[in-house]
Symmetry: C2
Subunit: 157 residues, 2 copies
């Protein structure tokens, strides 16, 4: 949770900086629960249908993987920052399936730092998630934008 | 759920085709529940903190909005198709906050149809979600790829 003195404000980001965001094992029951709510395609909700699909076993919805990584990112640094949301994503790739029992971990790399031209108290940081499984295979990448306030504006965040 | 004869197979997509994907009202309690699990930033989980943020009131996690639209897309056509997952997203924009009580609706527009060069039984369809709120303001766009099998390959989907 952002405190009065968050660790990360806009001016703290530097291109090339890497934050290790920890890891998370993905259970079959949570793959199915998420997918029943948001993405009930057969290969996300039904073990038998998944076995007959091109994937051969149950896989997580890509949106579920993204949400799980978002939580890793929150816990690793975002909740201790002046984060003020995201304008969007420029390139997201689901490179390999995330299967039940897989353990995913994420690194976050700062790609670009852009001060706002119209609002001097904030700026956009472009960063990339690099998400690996327990075999060190890259399963997902996500290059997105995050809005951060400068430290002296952070009381409104 | 994909039946033996799904309505949408790869060969059914045409550039410019629009599918209206219905609408969904987003409740405060589900905004908070999703965010507590996946994106517990103050403006997604705490009404008071949200009131003090640059947003002024509780807003949905962008990942939650995406997941809710994914469900609209599933129900509108994807579950009655040969869908075989997604390689990724080329551009996603969260243009305006989605607030508690907002009703979002989505149109899906086919942008490009690319037969696979290596696997003749499938291809990629590039489509764009255009997500509006109850004031017809565009709140989110998402241009992404979806893999579809051709109809005569659809028994494995």
């Amino acid at each position: 949770m952002a405190s009065d003195r968050p660790r990360y404000a806009f001016e703290d980001f530097q291109v090339g900086h890497v934050i290790a965001c920890g890891s998370r094992t993905v259970r079959a029951d949570e793959i199915v629960a998420f997918a029943k709510q948001f993405d009930p395609q057969p290969f996300h909700v039904d073990e038998d249908a998944a076995a007959r699909s091109i994937y051969g076993s149950l896989i997580a919805s890509g949106w579920h993987t993204a949400a799980l990584v978002m939580r890793l990112v929150c816990d690793a640094y975002l909740l201790d920052s002046t984060s003020a949301g995201s304008p969007g994503i420029d390139e997201l790739r689901w490179l390999k399936p995330v299967r039940a029992g897989d353990t995913i971990r994420a690194d976050l790399v700062t790609i670009e730092v852009r001060p706002s031209k119209s609002k001097p108290d904030r700026g956009v940081v472009v960063s990339e998630w690099r998400v690996y499984n327990q075999r060190e295979e890259l399963v997902m990448t996500n290059r997105g934008m995050s809005l951060f306030l400068r430290r002296d504006a952070s009381t409104v965040a």
